[in-house]
Symmetry: D2
């Protein structure tokens, strides 16, 4: 592997105590790391130290194959959880979609112009509707219908495709099906969903109808990691837009589409850029 | 009464049907009204027509004492609810406050520089804390302690003061007490509250603590008319601000203060300017 | 022409005086118009009355072919400028694009899902780059290279295509060429441009680079009608987003794309919905 | 000096190179610093490393009187500019005001409730108007009229008062006078101004009138350090709010007041919290 123009990103969480920054900085300096970005956070309530550091691999004297062995003693000493990623290894992302295509169109365009640094080996849907669009982007499109009766088999088929494709991240781009316990536990913090409300307001079904009925003056959208508790996973990003008494449900749906696209795409980009650490059902988004 | 530089504002709601605008416009034209602002809205779901029209009283040939008699036949024909207000008669506003003074400071300053066009005959509190500030503004300050035991007598004393002062509008500027059924029904759509969350999220107590615990990325504030159902009244205005993982509960409280001030003051100004029509637990805010 | 499910929209501007609303309301009532939306505005500085009224053509007893003859006497009496549009006649929109495709992708998707109610008979570009995308949407794609030398001939060819296609509206979706005086005067208030800054800040070239150099904390985008004075035409819509010291020029470009898409698409939708009146180098956006 | 409950904040800028973080972290660890917050930034365009680190002084084994001597060798080795501040030493802030009191009211209230951690030894004005308000807050109020003729003497009197009071920061809370070259060079990055527009748009006089004339859809406010070039100093914070065709100049002024208060108070708080580093006519705002 040539390290030219490549970088490594290290995400760390540990019980907060003195000397953590020095330990990490000294380790990296030992191998002549050229740090490009570093950001850290201390959660004083949980007593946690969280850090993201990215460095240029040019001139880094530790082969990345030996990184784990070299870093592990320090990690153990400070009780760190850690994960390192290489920019040379593109994440592989699957998109799940039903019939609404606006988030899918948006994600595919961002991917095509290089805003999302990943491979997209497949799109999975329970409907035929988006095939032409997906295939226009030269991505395989798999239709797996889901019913109450076949849910287990449908997911088995999804797992087979995801594993075959070596998928790291699943994005639910308005995929109108609830994932099983098994799905969620297989992909912890690896499934991102977009919910079309400002959670925790209007969790569950038909949020735009309920926002209209309640007479709120702003509507929102929320992207989050999927956990077993529906709409209760760690929130990654939220955004709102103003509505007025002149807006009917259809107007809310239309204005909401713009929110959903932006809020989902930010979450996906931050995840792909290794900028999210999730703990205690919250997220840290590193700058 | 001299009409010079004065205006009248008419708020109307009626079952929607053809000819409503023409009926109102012709009535006003008959008496030579010079319309300054007009705004209307049709709620297609409820089948309602809602209108606000404001006109200069100079040159208006119908004495306002005779307005009701002249307009009533048209109102009856079209099944209108209506209310007319004169700019020459300033609304009288009472402010209720507990210990947090930021909304009070804000309202008093806006009032002093003419942003809120009303008289403030009194401020009522269950604590002594804000006396010096209120009296600096030459407004009488009444302390009425409220406990579980004396709640009925305390409200009786409040009613006496409000009636004596001829109060039209009660503003709860972070008044930390729940009003009784009797209070709310005495002042329908005449009590404005500020809730320190983006309702319906985090209704009830300690919203900033709960927002922090849930890990939301935006916090909000909501002003609404007080009804019998706590935090369920018609929403007048909402606003949000961004927070991050770096913000602790105290930061939320601090950022929230700026939201609360802006959101409450807009609601009060719009109410004083006769720009709000409330129906079906929603509000129309006329431009 | 069957009027079933169709509507008409009337835009009016006139010197402000008493009786205008009554005159218009009475005219429409005479022919049994069922008003769906009405909004009006008085510009007190300019002494102008501006109105938009939309009505259902079912039950309207005046054939729309006779509308002009019937309305003209009223218009003349009150010195009105007016324009009526029928929902049955879809506007025809041309899109001009260079190499950046994000606004084009966005407009085409909104059009495909019905958010933009128009026909798109052609896309014109000075480059080949977007051909595949446009043709995927079954829209003819015309490449007309533009150089300093051939500018007049290039525009002549553009005019020929626009006229042949009966185009009502030209949208410059990041078309990186300045239009001639002749172009602008041929299509007054009919060419919408997106400028990638918060005008009047950073008008002219390379606004993201200049915003970065100046160290602003927010960047913006502006959609406007094109006039002879570059970047000086009537502003239709603006929006901003927050940046920080961590954002480099490339980040501004990326964040700006999301603004440009939203700000341009709103302008186009409002124009297509006959919701914009332009005067004194400003716009009124009717609700 | 007791270090109990006190903290120190170190701001550093240096040419970017390897080992800076390790050098600083090791220095602090040597003296057993308990780091509370750390944030750093690399400006890749300028090749600069910028850092803010705050630590608890309890248990810190280096007396702060010896800090400079101990840190200077490291600073020299890495060519650092640096500045350390102690929370035990409250900054001293002077406020300059003319007749508009909204920013002054806002700052004084934030100060009273502890949002601004500073002493305010005096307020200086060229008018009597705000005396009662300032003295209500038990702060000395000095009126120094300024005319073309007496400008030099007036500033001399201002300098005398500022020096006598040991002022670290001057806040221009809508002070409608231009400061001299001498004033600005005496207090580099120590004078904060609020400009009532979204700079660089509408720099100079009467920005609300010019925003109205241009027909923009958003208005803004900007806080910045004052430099010799009027309205050209490093921007600290900006915010905008939406306006519509219904807003006249007076409405812009009213909406703008809310922006000015928020944008100025954020700048002041960040400055007092040692969170701003200024370079190349830009600011870094540390989290």
């Amino acid at each position: 592997m040539s390290n030219a123009t490549h970088s490594a990103t290290l995400l760390i969480s540990a019980p907060d105590k003195k000397g953590l920054v020095a330990a990490i900085a000294n380790f990296l300096m030992t191998y002549n790391a050229n740090i490009m970005h570093a950001d850290q956070h201390q959660d004083n309530v949980e007593g946690l130290f969280l850090m993201r550091v990215q460095w240029d691999l040019r001139g880094f004297t530790l082969p990345m194959d030996d990184f784990a062995a070299a870093f592990e003693p320090i990690a153990r000493e400070h009780d760190m959880s850690w994960k390192v990623s290489l920019s040379s290894r593109k994440p592989r992302m699957a998109i799940f979609v039903s019939k609404y295509e606006h988030c899918l169109v948006d994600l595919l365009h961002r991917w095509r112009i290089g805003e999302l640094d990943c491979d997209i080996p497949l799109v999975i849907s329970n409907h035929e509707d988006c095939r032409r669009l997906v295939e226009f982007n030269d991505i395989p499109y798999h239709v797996i219908p889901v019913t109450k009766e076949n849910k287990a088999e449908a997911e088995a088929e999804q797992f087979r495709l995801l594993e075959e494709a070596g998928v790291d991240l699943v994005v639910l781009a308005r995929y109108m099906q609830v994932l099983s316990h098994e799905f969620v536990t297989r992909y912890p913090n690896k499934v991102i969903n977009i919910h079309h409300s400002f959670l925790p307001a209007f969790d569950g079904a038909k949020p735009y109808h309920r926002a209209f009925a309640r007479g709120v003056k702003l509507i929102g959208a929320t992207s989050h990691y999927v956990t077993e508790d529906l709409d209760e996973g760690p929130i990654i990003e939220q955004e709102v837009t103003r509505i007025s008494h002149r807006d009917e449900v259809d107007d809310l749906v239309q204005k909401g589409r713009d929110l959903e696209k932006v809020v989902l795409s930010r979450a996906v980009r931050w995840h792909l850029d290794q900028r999210i650490l999730s703990y205690s059902n919250k997220t840290v988004i590193f700058d």
